[in-house]
Amino acid sequence: MPHENPAAPLLQLRDARIAYGQIQAVKGIDLELFSGELVSLIGANGAGKTTTLNAIAGTLQLSGGELSYAGSAIAGMPAHKRLRAGIALVPEGRGIFTRLTVEENLRMGAYTRSDKAEIEADLERVYEMLPRVRERLPQVAGTLSGGEQQMVAIGRALLSRPKLLLLDEPSMGLAPLIVEKIFEVIQIVIKQGVTVLLVEQNANLALGFSNRAYVMESGKITLSGSGQDLLHDPKVRSAYLGEAA
């Protein structure tokens, strides 16, 4: 079923609509991701970015339109099966299991895997990438700082060996140094061939790193293009980068 045609998008949304009861949060968007890309989705609060990510990860379902991944329609597939198919989401607010230890959190990322030796090797890789996490392994995760929790959340998602990593506001509420570290990690992840869809409030930072980007406004995609083009687009600059038009 899944034909791995390099020219075909890894993920495709067609006229996707998502509703919370009667309220349409996403009103028919088209979005494509190709293997190996870093694409960002920017826009104001309430534009529907998080909703879109949740629908791709499967914790929300589309109310209309199509969603395909690796050549198969996956609308209606529950979240836990999408993870097995290679879609991992680092949710907004990190979603750390606060009562589990850091190590248990990370191991939850590998829940669907049974290749023990490989899991240990992957854990080791995460520790190398995020040395501060290693120091905290036996600690209950709720006691970590926000930045440490974000790193655990990203490390945990990587332990599922995703093909597509969805990141929801990884820089939210974090100090600039930690944000820098997180973007370093995203770069490493991209180099490993993982496709990344990034939702960010910090548009300047996101666009600078992205191959392509989409701009969302009240449930619709209003602009799309290469990261650099959007970074220099006067409309984007005035709306999201805090410049006077």
């Binding site: 990860a57 499967g58 914790t59 529950p78 979240a79 836990h80 993870l83 097995r84 991992a88 989401l89 949710p91 979603g95 299991f97 606060t98 009562r99 589990l100 248990e104 191991r107 939850m108 990322g109 829940y111 669907t112 945990r156 599922s160």
Partner: protein, 310 residues
């Protein structure tokens, strides 16, 4: 002194059964925020199924050792209760997962009535004398302090179930997934956990524990009947609240403490009240404790997990 020791032993026996049943309440509460008031009735079904199975095997294959019949009874009662627990979750509670909290609570009471009525239809309203397969002749453990083999079996089986459950929850991937799901269903599903499966599993495990508890209660008292689950269910619920509902260690501590308070209270109430009350009032202790805990320490002895999931 001998009375005190004797009552402590009796309390440990009853308390260990409460603890096993309380684990079922607390596991379901931890993962769904639901008080499964039908849990006590699952225990009753376990006892009655075991009764029927033991009677059947005694007739079909006579001459086996009593322990074998006892084990056969457990081996039939446990899967039967697991199926019932699963069915209750699947048909009654799952569709109410996102309903206001009162709806599943009332449904739980409804399921409790349903199980009792079905049991009454199947087994009748009479008390069935439960086969005394384990010796009930008291053995003197210390001078003047007695314990029956059935009491010893009860404590031993309960301890084994508790150790097994704790190991499952703390040491296995499945247990970790259970704890993750209890904390956050949505994020657990993002880790690839089939949260519906984990919730069903919680009911299945809790029901298996209830089956064992039911068989032990019936073995201790020598009777089984359709309403026998009500009081132990309520006591175990009290034990779970006492320990801190949602907390596994709390359920075990709460069960033992409640059993001890009840037994010691029953042993001395006559002296304390100057003959006004006697040991048939032992049930009041559980409910006095429930009242005190709810007023002064609603999170229980060890609990902190009461209000973190709506």
């Amino acid at each position: 002194m001998q009375t005190l020791l004797q009552q402590i032993i009796n309390g440990l026996v009853v308390g260990s059964v409460y603890a096993v049943v309380a684990l079922g309440y607390t596991m379901v509460y931890g993962i769904l925020g639901l008080i499964n008031f039908a849990h006590g009735d699952v225990l009753m079904v376990g006892a009655l199924v075991a009764y029927t199975a033991i009677t059947f095997f005694q007739a079909a294959i006579p001459g086996l050792s009593p322990i074998v019949y006892f084990a056969l009874g457990l081996m039939v009662a446990m899967p039967a209760c697991m199926v019932i627990g699963y069915t209750i979750e699947r048909t009654a509670y799952r569709r109410l997962r996102n309903a206001p909290r009162l709806a599943p609570l009332i449904t739980a009471i409804g399921v409790s009535f349903l199980l009792q009525t079905l049991a009454m239809i199947i087994w009748g309203r009479n008390y069935h004398s439960f086969p005394q397969l384990i010796q009930t002749a008291p053995i003197e453990v210390v001078t003047g302090v007695f314990m029956t083999p059935v009491q010893m079996t009860t404590v031993g089986l309960s301890a084994a179930m508790m150790v097994g459950l704790v190991l499952l929850v703390t040491r296995t991937n499945m247990g970790r997934a259970m704890r993750a799901t209890a904390e956050n269903h949505r994020v657990a599903s993002l880790m690839g956990v089939d949260t519906n499966g984990i919730i069903a599993l919680t009911f299945i495990i809790g029901s298996a524990l209830a089956a064992v508890a039911g068989v032990m209660i019936a073995s201790n008292y020598g009777v089984a009947h359709y309403s026998m689950g009500f009081m132990p269910g309520l006591k175990a619920f009290t034990a779970a609240v006492l320990g801190g509902i949602g907390n596994l260690a709390g359920a075990m501590v709460g069960g033992i403490v409640l059993g001890l308070v009840e037994a010691i209270g029953a042993g001395y109430i006559e002296t304390w009240s100057g003959g006004w009350l006697n040991s048939s009032y032992q049930d009041i202790f559980a409910f006095i404790i429930l009242g005190i805990v709810l007023i002064f320490r609603p999170t229980g002895l060890l609990g902190e997990r009461v209000a973190d999931r709506a």
